[in-house]
Amino acid sequence: MRASLKAEQAGVRSVSVVTTAFMAHAQAAARGLGIRTSAIAEYPGVIPTESPADFDRKIRTLLVERIIDGFAAPMEAIERPPEPAPRDIVFRGDYEAVQEHCLRELWSDGLPVTPPTLAAVERFLRYTDRDPAEVLGVLLPETRQATVWNVAVNGAMAGCRPEYMPVLIAVVEAICEPGFHIEHGGSTPGWEPIILLNGPIIGQLDFNHGQGVTRVGRQANSSVGRFLRLYMRNVAGLRVAPGTGDKATFGLMFNAVLAEDEAAARAIAWPTHAMERGFAEGENVVEVRSMHGVAPINFTEGSTAEPHLSVIADKAQRFLCDWTAPCIYMGGFHHLLVLSPAIAEVLARNGMTKAGLRDYLYRNARVGAARAKAYLVDKVEVDYHDLVRRGLLSPDFALSDDPDRLIPVLLNREGIGVVVAGDPGRNQSRWYAGLHIMGAPTSRRIRLPANWEALRREPGFGGPLLNSAAAS
């Protein structure tokens, strides 16, 4: 649809070919881009599994007529339903009635939402000194404004504490960045964003960085993770059926925030993830990135580095090798490795730095060049030698013409994210697979209001479990 939009903007009539399963999605995308939905021609079927005979017949007898009709159809006006002003009351009712209404309107993620009353939203706005009307960006596919106000609304609905507001704003700023590619948020691999968090705010707001770090259970990690998915539904317009915009084949549950164990990183003189992304030590930073699969846990043991490294590299080889060629094709790569503090400590004790770890993994996780390309679908092709010549791929991918030569599974060292988190008493690590350019890692500094320290001293700040003995 984006290509059709560009053609139309250039004054060239367009018709988009879309298969049946994507019609509702395409119509929603078209409306979001200002394209008349009559300019969509439906191919009836599932093309990848269509027989050659049926494919040919359907094109000749059905699709071509629809294409011609698409060019001939009158240009109907795009319906613009009236939209409420931010402070307009859109519904009144008791708790149950609010839940039913939000479900009907597709404002809910299927779980109960905290009613977003004016009072609830105002409580969130206390934790930012930014204008509620400030536009943070515009989100596809529905081309809607992300504002400080609607961040607060969705933060309330997701069950966040108002004091999470600076984090929520930074998260939305990140997904508004063009490099994050929110326009691919409804793609069929069904990737889910994960939020990485660094800085003193972790402790200030009681984010879990230890045992069970990415399990739902700690209010901060769980509710902020839920907020992002709810925001992508309500503002970006990414909804699974009965909504439109999200064509995940399966989809994933929202991710709890992954906060780094910065004390553990400092103890072994490793930079934090945010520091590696160019931020100063002690800065509050969020990063949002896609993940579309989690590898089985690596259980490793030994007091030297090699037993751990070899298993972690082997897991990358086996779990991530089918995405090497697609990542090359799409020009983006970002996989994440999470190490429990115990594993990070034994590596560091044996002289391994984060950079050294990346280098080891890049050199040792390998796949056959031809085998990697076997995972490409359809007419997608990767020419290693051409990409090396153009400076888009390391020469390590074209050292010979032997199709069985081994190439790196991990496209480069820089794209390997390393975070220290999880149970410090367990010897485990885990890979998260990122989805090339879709949801590319995007970091934002968290802006705190001028009176943040005064707010922190207010009773109840951070929740009833802040600094409790149960916190790990």
Binding site: L5, A7, A26, F55, E83, V90
Partner: protein, 103 residues
């Protein structure tokens, strides 16, 4: 005991898409130049080949501009391809495009 009541606000954001200007449609494709924009998926090249045949049976004087001229609308260079699209359409005298494949 009565249940509390809530007055809630809208969780979405203002829609800011730009509506394209209304233009003439093209029921008559005779003598037109038609381009194909493709995302390199879902057998679009095969589809285009058949579409060209069928359109040529129905209309006269058609000229076609294939997808290689414009580039991949979904790959690593998507943004660059779309940024260059207007100029390539003009340079090739394209009157109408078929874009695919959404699937």
């Amino acid at each position: 005991m009565t249940e509390p009541h809530y007055a809630i606000v809208w969780p979405s954001g203002r829609s800011v898409f730009t509506e394209l200007p209304v233009r003439e449609r093209a029921p008559d494709l005779n003598g037109k130049t038609i381009g194909f924009l493709w995302d390199w998926f879902f057998r679009g090249d095969e589809l285009w080949s058949v579409v060209k045949q069928e359109l040529s049976r129905r209309f006269t004087g058609l000229r076609f501009v294939d997808h290689e001229v414009f580039g991949n609308t979904h790959g690593r260079d998507e943004h660059a391809v779309l940024d260059a699209l207007a100029e390539r359409l003009r340079a090739n005298g394209v009157d109408a495009v078929i874009s695919g494949i959404g699937a």
